[in-house]
């Protein structure tokens, strides 16, 4: 991968230098030195070293806010992804959040023949079946559990709620013990080698399992398997669906008896689910179907939604925190009690921002952050009692 081929592949040369990208960019709003337009200009002027070793390259959130308004249709996030691959080859790995342990885990997972113990959290409460042709993608949740303990976020709560909801729909999904990281973070960090190894393993595993449908509770895994695996020649021969899509479909058919949850909530569109895949209505339909839920939209919602501030666990700095503060303040100004999201990482980042110490904490709005499936599971419990 060279910078030239990245320019060709993403049609960056069409750039009109209008600067819409920079004016919309959530990072540029807080970090005056960051500008997508300037990054494109640097690339077009052939300043490869300056671009590759600039901090800005790894600050981009690849959230697609810029691209969807670009008059020249430049695919900036994919350009950044490919430029990061060039950077990785030159030895620039960006600043990894959480001291790089998540990246190290993904790289270690590429080791063939390892026997992960990723399903030990499973209990008899859940009905799963190895014969089922519906697969539940567990993703990184078992690894997130120890890492994000300090911020009181348990990613497996989302997985468990997803299983509860699926069981309530009469689905006994299959879970794969040998599933590995989907490679999303590695790919967006520019580490294509790790991504390819993980993708090949997972694609072969899914093919062997012979499933017809895969359900995701994480938009990143969903995006990666849906768009990136086929782009790397690993098309999966089955239907892929996010849990919110499945729920919206089944609620419409009247398959789910939902109990009352009295809460005023606002919905955070995860960038991977919203702008990357265009799913805005399904989660809102689910929210509106729960009796007692009042959905209030934030000023920036749907395709204009503001990102949670960090993606692929790279370059999490004070500007990322400023973005989160902006978003949390916006949510607080709607008088909502909770932010509902359908991405475990949005939840991680918002919770992390709220547990910060000292001055920042005092100025940070405090809201409850909850995943959509957890809310549905709560509502199901309400219907039972």
């Amino acid at each position: 991968m060279s910078l030239d081929s990245a320019i060709q592949a993403t049609k960056t040369y069409y750039c009109l230098e209008c600067g819409k990208c920079t004016s919309l960019c959530p990072v540029a709003r807080h970090d005056p030195s960051f500008s997508p337009r300037a990054i494109v200009e640097m690339a077009l002027l052939g300043l490869e070293d300056e671009l590759v070793f600039s901090k800005g390259l790894f600050s981009c959130l690849t959230c697609y806010t810029c691209s969807q308004k670009c008059p020249a249709d430049v695919d900036f996030p994919v350009f950044v992804r490919q430029a990061r691959a060039v950077a990785q080859n030159s030895g620039e790995h960006g600043t990894c959040a959480h001291s790089g342990q998540l990246q190290a885990l993904a790289r270690m997972m590429t080791t063939p023949g390892i026997k992960q113990r990723r399903l030990e959290w499973l209990s008899d409460r859940f009905q799963i079946s190895d014969e089922s042709d519906i697969l539940l993608w567990v993703g990184c949740a078992p690894y997130f559990e120890p890492i994000f303990e300090d911020i009181e976020f348990r990613a497996l709560d989302i997985t468990e709620a997803t299983l509860t909801v699926l069981n309530a729909l009469g689905i006994q999904p299959r879970l794969l013990a040998d599933e590995k990281c989907c490679g999303h973070d590695a790919l967006w960090m520019g580490d294509e080698e790790t991504f390819k190894k993980l993708a090949e393993h997972n694609a072969a595993l899914i093919k062997d399992a012979g499933v017809k449908k895969i359900i995701f509770s994480c938009p990143e895994g969903y995006r990666t398997l849906k768009l990136d695996y086929p782009a790397y020649g690993l098309a999966l021969d089955c239907e892929l669906q996010h849990i919110s899509e499945l729920l919206a479909e089944r609620i419409e058919q009247g398959d789910l008896k939902l109990g009352r949850v009295d809460k005023k909530v606002s919905y955070q569109d995860p960038c991977r689910l919203g702008r990357h895949l265009g799913i805005y209505d399904a989660p809102r339909k689910v929210l509106q179907a729960i009796p007692g839920i009042e959905l209030v939209e934030m000023e920036h919602c749907r395709e204009n939604s503001i990102c949670c501030g960090t993606s692929a666990f790279t370059n999490c700095d004070s500007y990322s925190n400023d973005i989160r503060k902006e978003r949390l303040s916006e949510a607080a100004s709607t008088d909502a009690e909770a932010i509902v999201t359908s991405c475990p990482k949005c939840q991680t980042h918002f919770r992390c921002a709220m547990v910060d110490k000292g001055e920042e904490k005092r100025s940070m709005p405090q809201l409850d952050v909850v995943d959509l499936v957890n809310l549905v599971a709560e509502s199901l419990r309400g219907a039972e009692s």
Binding site: H98, S99, G100, Q101, A104, L105, R107, M108, M109, T111, P112, G113, I114, K115, Q116, R117, R118, E120, P142, Y143, E145, P146, I147, E149
Partner: protein, 146 residues
């Protein structure tokens, strides 16, 4: 085939365990040469990533060792280290690594013999366990003996 020689990475705090290792050396206490010592200013400074990286690069065992709770030069380093250690142990357990490959020790400056005994025992234990699943040796490619 030559006998398997385990590789150990030991993160030792500057004030206690590193000095203990030094003492073991000056006192001419014999212990196996399988250990690579990384000097840290405090055991509380060892980040989970360092431990992960050691295993990623082919270590068969990792020791994280520092001062006893009351000896820390930075007040609460060992407590931070305990929290980090519990976290990284769970991560590595989920990844499929045996818990025995990871050791949390507290060895003070005067305990040169304790350090030597620890390394001797650990090497023996790792010999029984065999190469780490992440080590090149377990993939059929024998690493250069260290």
């Amino acid at each position: 085939m030559p006998e398997f020689e385990p590789k150990i990475v030991a993160f030792c705090c500057n004030w206690c365990t590193y000095a203990a290792a030094d003492l073991a050396g000056t006192a001419r206490i014999q212990y196996p040469p399988n250990v690579y010592i990384v000097r840290m200013m405090c055991s509380g400074m060892v980040s989970p990533d360092y431990v992960l990286r050691a295993f990623e690069k082919g270590a068969d065992g990792v020791i994280v060792s520092g001062c006893h709770y009351t000896d820390c030069h930075y007040i609460d380093g060992p407590i931070k280290c305990d929290a980090m250690f519990a976290k990284v142990r769970r991560l590595l357990y989920t990844l499929g690594l045996e818990n025995e490959r990871l050791r949390r020790e507290m060895i003070s400056t005067s305990e040169g013999t304790v350090f030597a005994r620890l390394v001797t025992e650990f090497v023996e234990q790792l010999r029984q366990l065999g190469p780490s699943p992440f080590s090149p040796a377990s993939k059929g490619v024998l690493s250069e003996s260290g």
